[in-house]
Symmetry: C2
Amino acid sequence: MKFSSRLPIAVHTLLVIEVFKGQYKITSDFIAGSVGVNPVIIRNILIQLKTANLVEVAAGIGGATLKKSPQEITLLDIFHAVEADESLFHIHEHPNPDCLVGRNINSILYTHFDKIKKTVEQELNSITLQSLLEQVK
Amino acid sequence: MKFSSRLPIAVHTLLVIEVFKGQYKITSDFIAGSVGVNPVIIRNILIQLKTANLVEVAAGIGGATLKKSPQEITLLDIFHAVEADESLFHIHEHPNPDCLVGRNINSILYTHFDKIKKTVEQELNSITLQSLLEQVK
DNA sequence: AAATGTTGTAAGTATTGACATTACAATTAA
DNA sequence: TTAATTGTAATGTCAATACTTACAACATTT
């Protein structure tokens, strides 16, 4: 079980946008310099954040800005924006339907895993970008 | 963010051991038939479960049995047994230490992610193998 | 209108991890 | 000894992730 690195990068991106707004033009190159990855990675993440209505990106001239206030953006919003795959858990497998266990395992595990997922989402939702900003300073 | 399929397979394995004990000899082949994977996968997972003191495997003659009662085994025990990588979250990255955000991002995210991890572990710990057994029947 | 800087996007490569498969020595009971 | 099974190594395959290069589209500035 593991988060991809997209959530951390997206959070980092949003923090940079807000911390340095006004001072610098926040281009994908600028963000990439702080995060330490290729600018294309940042552009792709910006597209996802834009689709989720969290940021605005100026095509041509360049520069990204937040579209909501930091109080209104939670880690869950960011998580949903960049982790397209909602399936958190492997329920895959091809269990044997002729076996009592194989027949039931997936629905049983799914029930429990889904509950855990909801708990995680609840926690992510309780953390705002604003609180992270305050921790940065 | 995603579980590997090792936890589901390990749970499936333990359930098969307990459900069919006495009726059949529970070999890696037998378990593999119910799970729907290669027997070697099961053997490797059995080794991990054995190391965690959850099962006993008879070398040579074959057959696996539980080493604790189903009430004493929780999903967290199984999780720890098979998910060696405890790092749940990507804190990797190489953020720029010369940037205010880059300098602080990892410790901030780590704090929050660690709290979420503890919550997940708490939930996993509340689910016993016994309760899963009851759901199978 | 041209030059400049940036975004949007595609394509190719590399790396990693998970899982599958084959093979065989070691082990144990019959 | 024979037969069945485990323990373990080696190899192959596949998907996901990330890195990089490249360039057309776009908007501002000159």
